[in-house]
C-alpha cells in the first residue's frame, strides 16, 4: 500500500475543532482502528489543535491550523501545523503519559488544566515536535495493529 495523505485547514476558532475531530475519527475507522482507538486519536488531535489555538495563537481567531493525515502501511502519522508561539520542546520529555500529579482527597488543589499533552502522550505510540522556520509541527504517530 502506498502512502496516502489528506490535509485539512481550519481558522483558529474553537468551534471549528470538532470538524477536524470528526474527519480524523472517520479516517481512523477506515484504517482498521477500533471505535475506541478512533475516538482516542480524535481526542489527541482535538487536544493538539486546541493547544495551537489557545497557546500558539493566544485564542486569536484569524490564523490557520493545518492537520495532515498520513496513511502508511503499518501506521498513521497526523501532523498538526501552526505558526503561533512555539511550545517548549522540553514539555514532551517532562510530561508523563496521562499523569498529572494531584491528591484525589484534596479537592481544592486538583488542577483544572494541563491534561492535554499527557493525554496525547498516553494514547499515541510516538509524539514528535519539529520547528521549520516559523512553522511548528506536532506529529502524532499510531501503529496499525
Amino acid at each position: 500500500m502506498k502512502t496516502k495523505e489528506i490535509k485539512f485547514t481550519i481558522t483558529s476558532r474553537l468551534e471549528n475543532v470538532s470538524l477536524l475531530g470528526a474527519a480524523v475519527n472517520k479516517l481512523c475507522s477506515a484504517n482498521q482502528f477500533s471505535g475506541e482507538d478512533a475516538h482516542a486519536i480524535e481526542l489527541c488531535v482535538v487536544e493538539a489543535v486546541v493547544n495551537s489555538i489557545k497557546h500558539g495563537y493566544g485564542g486569536k481567531p484569524d490564523h490557520f491550523v493545518d492537520v495532515i493525515f498520513h496513511q502508511e502501511p503499518d501506521h498513521i502519522a497526523i501532523s498538526i501545523l501552526d505558526t503561533g508561539k512555539p511550545m517548549d520542546p522540553k514539555l514532551l520529555k517532562e510530561k508523563k503519559p496521562f499523569a498529572i500529579q494531584f491528591e484525589p482527597e484534596v479537592i481544592e488543589k486538583i488542577p483544572k488544566s494541563g491534561r492535554g499533552l499527557p493525554i496525547i502522550l498516553g494514547y499515541m505510540d510516538d509524539v514528535r515536535y519539529l520547528l521549520k522556520g516559523n512553522e511548528k509541527h506536532l506529529i502524532l504517530i499510531k501503529k496499525i495493529a
Binding site: L14, E15, V17, S18, G21, E36, H39, A40, E42, L43, V46, E47, V50, K54, F98, A99, I100, F102, P104, I107, E108, I110, P111, K112, S113, R115, G116, P118, I119, G122
Partner: protein
C-alpha cells in the same frame, strides 16, 4: 452542546447533549455559577447524551465541583458513556468525582 436544566425534587439536573469540549465549556461553567448564586447547591450533571469530552471539559467539571464544594453543596455526575468514562479513568478523575452509572441512583443519593 445543548444544556437542559431540570429540578427533580430539589436536585438541579444539568443534562448535557453533544460534546463537552473547549468550544462550549463556558456554557456549563455559567450554568453552574447561576445555580450557586441562587443557592441551588444540589447539582447533578447527566452525561448520558455526551459522546465526547476533552481535557477542557474535564477541567471545567473540576472547576464546577470545586465551586459547589466551596459553598457546601453537592456536585455529582451520572451516566458517563464508555469513551468519556475511559478518559475519567486514565486521568484518575474517576477517584475525584462522585460518579453514578444511573441517573436515578444518583438522584436518590442526595
Amino acid at each position: 452542546m445543548e444544556l437542559i436544566q431540570e429540578n427533580v425534587n430539589g436536585v438541579f439536573v444539568l443534562k448535557l447533549i453533544g460534546r463537552l469540549d473547549a468550544s462550549c465549556v463556558s456554557q456549563l461553567k455559567n450554568a453552574v455559577q447561576e445555580l450557586i448564586e441562587a443557592k441551588k447547591l444540589k447539582i447533578l450533571i447527566d452525561m448520558a447524551s455526551v459522546d465526547f469530552v476533552d481535557s477542557s471539559g474535564l477541567g471545567t467539571l473540576v472547576t464546577c465541583m470545586q465551586s459547589v464544594n466551596r459553598f457546601g453543596g453537592a456536585f455529582k455526575i451520572s451516566s458517563v458513556q464508555k469513551n468519556p468514562k475511559f478518559l475519567f479513568e486514565t486521568t484518575r478523575l474517576d477517584r475525584v468525582f462522585e460518579l453514578f452509572e444511573e441517573r436515578e441512583v444518583a438522584l436518590n443519593s442526595f
